[in-house]
């Protein structure tokens, strides 16, 4: 299932979607990220791997400023999306979050109908036209390969869907607001292997339209779906390169130890 192994993959050859420049992040006095520099390539799947507590989620949540809400946090360095510093005071957070969608570990459809879940974001952003909403719902559900399964019952409660379907719905809900970038924090860790395989397939399909950044604990998963992989350890980015390189011949001893299961 390793996608495009034949195709040459080099970071420098890719267009950059997100530029992370010397980013450090603090929860109070605790340093959770130190001096991270990376260029996340456009229309690729980038995975963050590393042992628990190494800062993967923190880094991911910096990209759509979800950490803003935590008390007493501080960010140093800059994160830019398309030449714009996302942390600039003038920048509208809710605008940023429209462009950078997020899918969470625990799939959490709102206790509403399937339709309402997908229409939620666009509606909030002021879209009222029923025809347009219908189109968005259909298109989004098609993109997450859910349309065929639910088209006869889009007005039924989303909570009746299976776990995998619910997670696909959550991805559909995220892409309904037309983001450029999709952040996923362990999107499969609550799913069974079959549902996981479907989501993985979907992620690979979605990268055609979106830049995808995924946090995963599952190294096989990173190996299967990610074009590029970054290994984080205790808040530092140890190594970041094409996935094959990370898994076949890592440059750093720590990466190798982690990949071969010697810790973490």
């Amino acid at each position: 299932m390793t996608q495009g192994t034949s195709q040459r993959k080099e970071l420098s050859a890719c267009e950059t979607a997100v530029l992370i420049d010397k980013v450090s992040f603090y929860y109070g006095n605790k340093k959770a990220l130190s001096d991270i520099c990376m260029k996340l390539p456009k229309n690729k799947v980038t995975a963050f791997i590393g042992p628990s507590g190494c800062g993967k989620s923190t880094l991911l949540r910096c990209l759509n400023r979800m950490n803003d809400l935590v008390d007493n946090v501080r960010l140093e360095g800059t994160i830019s999306i398309g030449d714009q510093d996302i942390n600039e005071p003038s920048k509208d957070v809710s605008d940023l979050r429209k462009r950078v969608g997020m899918v969470f570990q625990k799939f959490n459809p709102f206790p509403k109908s399937i339709y309402e879940n997908v229409a939620y974001g666009p509606r909030i952003h002021g879209l009222k036209d029923k025809r347009e909403l219908d189109e968005i719902v259909e298109r989004s559900l098609k993109r997450v390969a859910l349309w065929e399964e639910v088209k006869d019952r889009v007005h039924d409660s989303a909570l009746q869907l299976s776990g995998g379907q619910q997670q696909r719905l959550c991805i559909g809900r995220a892409i309904a607001v037309e983001p450029d970038i999709l952040l996923m924090d362990e999107p499969c860790s609550a799913l069974d292997p079959i549902a996981t395989a479907r989501i993985e397939e979907l992620i690979v399909e979605l990268k055609e339209r979106y830049t995808i950044i995924i946090v995963t604990h599952n190294m096989q998963q990173a190996a299967r779906i990610a074009d590029f992989t970054g290994f984080l350890f205790m808040g530092e980015l140890i190594e970041f390169s094409a996935t094959e390189l990370i898994f076949r011949k890592p440059k750093e001893k720590k990466t190798e130890d982690y990949i071969t299961g010697r810790f973490g």
């Binding site: 979800m66 008390d71 979050r97 969608g101 969470f104 625990k106 959490n108 974001g121 909030i124 952003h125």
Partner: protein, 294 residues
């Protein structure tokens, strides 16, 4: 959320289902027995005319004339006042505590609320009689501070911590992902609270309000100490006049009437009215909840 109301073949095999049914049935049975007892024991009053009893404001045990109008009016006014007074503070406090306080401060705040929620009614009553009724008397230039208004405000203060802490629990227990998801779709924190968190918390908040209302409706001693104890519907519906509500009437007269006679029947009829009112409120509450469910 209300899936237990929806008949589902599968649960019938589950022993938990039948245990639940058993206890629910038991509770229902006890409630029915209570209510039937009240109705049965107060039959002599109802036979004289239900409407007459509910609307007449004359209550003269010496002449065996009993009308509940003043007490029903008093209960209604006092409870409404209490709710109007408590709700804004309780809800603002609950939202603030849940959404904006640091975890430490929140716990201190909750602890204080819970202690106040647990304080006995008589303590509130004494403070109400000693302080609140004097303040109200001076502030509004009244002859006497024992009024319907005083009772309403005192009850409002009493139920405030209960509603606040339970509503806070309901808001706080909405999983963080709902908030995060709404935010990640581009909502502002306020929108996220209103659109994603508040609807999820609503059933719990309504429950909290009903519990507070129940306490306000049933509270006896605190009200007795500040309401004035006059069986009247004040002329011009003056809130600053003494009045009477059902519990304070029962508290005042039960001991002297206990056992038999039309007086006793009349007091039990009052009890039945109160019980019925509470059931009506609870029923209205669950109807509201069901209407708001998805």
């Amino acid at each position: 959320m209300f899936s237990f109301l929806v008949p589902d073949r599968r649960c019938h095999a589950d022993p938990m289902f039948w245990i639940t049914v058993f206890f629910a049935g038991l509770v229902l049975l006890v409630a029915i027995i209570f209510f039937s007892y009240l109705i049965f024991e107060s039959m002599p009053i109802w036979e004289q005319g239900v409407w007459a009893f509910l609307t007449s404001v004359e209550w003269e045990p010496a002449e065996d004339i009993y009308g509940a109008g003043a007490m029903i009016y008093g209960s209604f006014i006092v409870t409404t006042l209490a709710l109007l007074f408590a709700l804004p503070f309780a809800l603002c406090g609950a939202v603030t505590a849940s959404e904006f306080l640091s975890p430490r401060t929140r716990l201190v705040f909750k602890g204080a609320m819970e202690i106040m929620a647990g304080a006995p009614g008589v303590v509130y009553g004494l403070l109400g009689a000693a302080l609140l009724s004097l303040w109200i008397k001076d502030f509004f230039g009244l002859i006497d501070g024992a009024t319907l208004f005083t009772a309403g405000i005192l009850l409002g203060i009493m139920i405030l911590p209960t509603i606040m802490t339970l509503a806070e629990d309901a808001i706080h227990s909405v999983p963080g992902e709902y908030r995060d998801t709404a935010l990640s779709l581009g909502l502002t924190p306020l929108q996220a609270f209103l659109k994603a968190v508040a609807p999820r918390a609503l059933p719990g908040v309504i429950g909290a309000v009903l519990l507070g209302l129940g306490r306000a409706l049933g509270e006896t001693i605190a009200v007795m100490l500040v309401i004035g104890g006059l069986d009247i519907v004040p002329s011009g519906f003056d809130l600053f006049s003494p009045g009477q509500n059902i519990p304070s009437k029962l508290g005042r007269e039960a001991a002297e009437a206990i056992g038999s006679g039309l007086h006793w029947n009349a007091l039990l009829a009052l009890g039945a009215v109160l019980f019925f009112g509470t059931m009506l409120l609870t029923g209205a509450g669950s109807w509201l909840l069901r209407r708001n469910k998805v």
